[in-house]
């Protein structure tokens, strides 16, 4: 009897101790996951993006990048943040023809979305910046945007009550141009969009996801009559190329040529994604078109003559019904 009790006690003790050990182990794990390299959840049908080895995503890095993205500490007079021109409720655009910097200064071009930016092979309408990390400094130092200097931002971050610890946690380094640009890019790479009626139809094989009009629009879009897909094809509705779409006969903004200095690049701009296009008006690099109707009219007309105009921009002479169908299809590219 005595022996039995001892035996039972021993078992109970073992269970209690081991379970407490396991619990404490779990607790430790919960604390440590902040620096665990995450696998990002990408939308169905999307490839996994290329991410630089030195900037793999972790909870701590994403959280730091997000805080920085929405913090006006980046601008000279602390009035605007990245989020000022990339609103979450406008699919990371700002609804303005061209964005506004500090003191109401006008930026050269329309704000592009930051969604699915992980797939961009280069940044900006002219592809001037080669990586998401390097891109971060451009709006900080642009006279028309934040009009500041990255070293001064770093100085502010070093003197901030919270940031130094957050940088240490995320990168085991102090605030610096390196960690600042890594953190914001790290957050931006997590911003995906890819769950629309079109995706339900295309990837979930739900044939009822699109209406008859949307399906007719889709046929125009992907057919040789509309030819939209040549540039706006693939999972992100862009081939990431630079094209002159016949917007002007003479371009005030030389576009890609500003980077390459090539005559053959004058008036060429990055083909933008059409995901959420319904919610990202106005359109074109200068925001010169307010509605999708205007955009479709432009492409139907074949645009203006220009020596660099893409051969794909030809008069389509779309009927009113076709235009409506095409716009309905584009609206089926809006996130559900």
């Amino acid at each position: 009897m005595n022996r039995k009790i001892t035996g039972i006690l021993a078992i109970v003790l073992f269970v209690v101790i081991s379970s407490s050990l396991i619990t404490s182990c779990r607790k430790d794990d919960a604390i440590d996951t902040g620096n665990e390299v995450l696998t990002l959840e990408v939308p169905t049908g999307f490839p996994y993006p290329n991410i630089p080895d030195d900037n793999q995503p972790t909870k701590n890095r994403i959280a730091l990048g997000k805080k920085l993205f929405f913090d006006p500490i980046l601008s000279r007079d602390s009035t605007i943040s990245c989020g000022s021109c990339h609103h979450a409720d406008k699919k990371m655009t700002d609804g303005l023809p061209v964005s506004q910097g500090i003191d109401g200064r006008h930026v050269l071009r329309n704000a592009m979305t930051v969604l699915n930016t992980a797939y961009q092979p280069n940044m900006f309408w002219d592809g001037g910046s080669p990586t998401l990390e390097q891109q971060v400094v451009a709006p900080i130092e642009s006279h028309e945007e934040m009009d500041f200097n990255v070293l001064k931002v770093v100085e502010r971050l070093k003197n901030h009550p919270e940031y130094p610890e957050l940088f240490l946690k995320a990168y085991n380094l102090d605030p610096s141009p390196y960690t600042l640009t890594r953190a914001i890019a790290n957050f931006e790479r997590t911003l995906f969009t890819g769950k629309t009626k079109f995706d339900q139809y295309q990837y979930d094989k739900d044939t009822n996801a699109l209406s008859a009009s949307e399906k007719r629009g889709m046929e125009l879009f992907f057919g040789e009559r509309g030819e939209c897909f040549h540039c706006h094809g693939g999972f992100n509705f862009t081939d990431f190329s630079f094209k002159n779409n016949g917007l002007y006969e003479v371009y005030a903004d030389s576009g890609r040529a500003r980077i390459t200095t090539l005559h053959s690049d004058v008036g060429k701009f990055k083909v933008p994604s059409l995901r959420n296009v319904e919610l990202t008006a106005p359109y074109m690099h200068d925001g010169s078109m307010a509605t999708l109707e205007e955009v479709v009219d432009h492409y139907s007309s074949g645009g203006k003559p220009h020596f660099n105009k893409s051969f794909l921009i030809q008069p389509l002479n779309l009927t009113q019904q076709e235009k409506t169908d095409l716009i309905n299809f584009m609206k089926a590219l809006t996130d559900l």
Binding site: G128, S129, Q134, Q135, V137, A138, N149, P177, R258
Partner: protein
């Protein structure tokens, strides 16, 4: 046995002394010495600064508020023609700094040297954030890098110029020249400027860079700006002046 040990110890000891002695006999000093540029950034006969009023070649007055430029790809050419590239060494020059340490080179005679104003294309398109803060290639304030494209600004020249038609006023009008782009780097050739690195002292090569010559043929009030891509003619004009603006002292 004991005797043997003593003999061996003796031999080892003396030979060690002999070898050490030999080394001392051969060397009259170190085999390498530090080499620097002693670089004067001037306007005509005056060292450039941010307070004086200068005149350009046409007599028009101007002031400077920023004048910085990259020097890189420095190569020393030894007497036998061997080239000694100072790989990775980049200088960010400004008028207030005269001495720029480049590194150590072997003692001996040299035929000359050369360098480029600007950066090679690999360096030019590298990420400034990846350099330590002590590197001239790290982010600067004011910036020497274009965020909107992936390149460095090889030379910044900013100030005010007299904009009166008769050029008889005072500098009142802003000018700014930001010159970059791979194809605008320029080689500065001093390959026949012979010098000797002596074992008993560090070497300083005297060089003068004349901003008046940099602005040769530039009508400053008319051609008052370039970010290179937005005004290529002015950028090319200035870059083409770099080689003639350098002189060995």
């Amino acid at each position: 046995m004991k005797k043997n040990i003593i003999i061996i110890t003796f031999i080892l000891f003396t030979s060690a002394v002999v070898f050490t002695g030999c080394k001392k006999d051969k060397d009259n000093g170190p085999a390498e010495r530090s080499i620097s540029f002693h670089l004067h950034t001037v306007v005509g006969n005056t060292v450039a600064n941010y307070t004086s009023v200068f005149t350009d070649a046409t007599g028009r007055s101007f002031t400077l508020s920023d004048c910085r430029y990259y020097i890189s790809n420095i190569v020393f050419i030894k007497d036998d023609g061997t080239e000694l590239p100072m790989t990775g060494k980049v200088l960010l020059a400004n008028p207030a700094t005269m001495k720029y340490e480049i590194g150590n080179v072997p003692v001996g005679k040299y035929k000359g040297f050369r360098f480029i104003v600007g950066l090679d294309s690999v360096t030019n398109h590298s990420d400034p954030a990846t350099y330590p803060s002590s590197s001239p290639l790290s982010y600067q304030n004011p910036s020497m890098h274009w965020g909107w494209n992936s390149g460095y600004i090889f030379m910044i020249l900013e100030g005010k110029v007299d904009s009166t038609a008769a050029a008889n006023g005072t500098p009142d009008y802003d000018f700014f020249y930001h010159i970059g782009l791979d194809q605008l780097k320029r080689t500065i050739d001093f390959s026949t400027t012979a010098f000797e690195v002596k074992s008993y002292e560090d070497m300083e090569l005297g060089i003068v860079f004349d901003i008046r010559k940099v602005l040769n043929g530039v009508n400053i009030p008319q051609e008052y700006f370039t970010h290179t891509m937005d005004n290529m003619p002015v950028a090319v004009k200035i870059a083409n002046n770099w080689p003639i603006a350098f002189e060995a002292e």
